[in-house]
């Protein structure tokens, strides 16, 4: 079955520290890969996406993610966390075949808390 797993439900880091959020997926083929962020009371905003090519992708707000095919992973990283990064983060996968409807499968989410 197709699925996305974010092993960490809740992570706390100190401001200025580095961050890595984990994402593993189970899919029939290499899918499109996404990371979204949700601030409290808001909708989801796209941080970055991987379609093909370079396996290290850069996103907004200083985030990056690395696709590792052998590990079926797409982990999100940031070198130095800011207090404004406190939010919930979702990893998602979607099909790559032509004419796809863009239907995504989401992970359970990871809540990031930032300590001053």
């Amino acid at each position: 079955a197709q699925s996305v797993t974010q092993p960490d439900i809740h992570i706390t880091v100190s401001e200025g520290a580095s961050l890595e959020l984990r994402c593993n997926y189970s899919y029939g083929a290499t899918p499109y890969l996404f990371w979204y962020v949700q601030s409290p009371g808001q909708g989801l905003q796209l941080l970055l996406k991987y379609f093909s090519g370079d396996t290290l992708v850069q996103g907004i707000k200083g985030f990056e993610a690395e696709f590792k095919r052998s590990q079926s992973s797409f982990n999100l990283r940031k070198p130095s966390v800011h207090w404004s990064d406190a939010a919930e983060y979702f990893c998602a996968v979607g099909p790559t075949h032509s004419g796809n409807t863009g239907k995504l499968i989401f992970g359970q989410g990871t809540t990031l808390q930032v300590k001053p």
Binding site: Q6, Y32, G41, G43, L46, F90, T101, G107, Q108
Partner: protein
């Protein structure tokens, strides 16, 4: 600026009421989605639509229906609201490459 607009941020409804959640997008996207978000469960797909008047069930369609009479508008209908439908509802649209644009969400409470 691209936009997906949900008609209400907060709703309180009574058990048994018929509830309509409205969503409008201004990006001319073919695909529109309704998700339900609950703590620890992530986003679960209720229904999606890939064209006007076309719809498909998602993972949790029971107790819901949808309507898409115009390309820009996608409505979610709770035929008879129940307390277990208290949740955050998110609408999204996509042009088909998987990148979805989300509305602000509607927090529905059924009492």
């Amino acid at each position: 600026d691209v936009k997906v607009t949900q008609s209400s941020r907060y709703l309180v409804k009574r058990t048994g009421e018929k509830v309509f959640l409205e969503c409008v997008q201004d990006m001319d996207h073919e695909n529109m989605f309704w998700y339900r978000q609950d703590p620890g469960l992530g986003l679960r797909l209720i229904y999606f639509s890939y064209d006007v008047k076309m719809k498909e069930k998602g993972d949790i369609p029971e107790g819901y229906s949808v309507s898409r009479e115009k390309k820009e508008r996608f409505s979610l209908i709770l035929e008879s609201a129940s307390t277990n439908q208290t949740s955050m509802y998110l609408c999204a649209s996509s042009k088909g490459d998987g990148e979805a644009f989300f509305g602000q969400g509607t927090r529905l409470t059924v009492v």
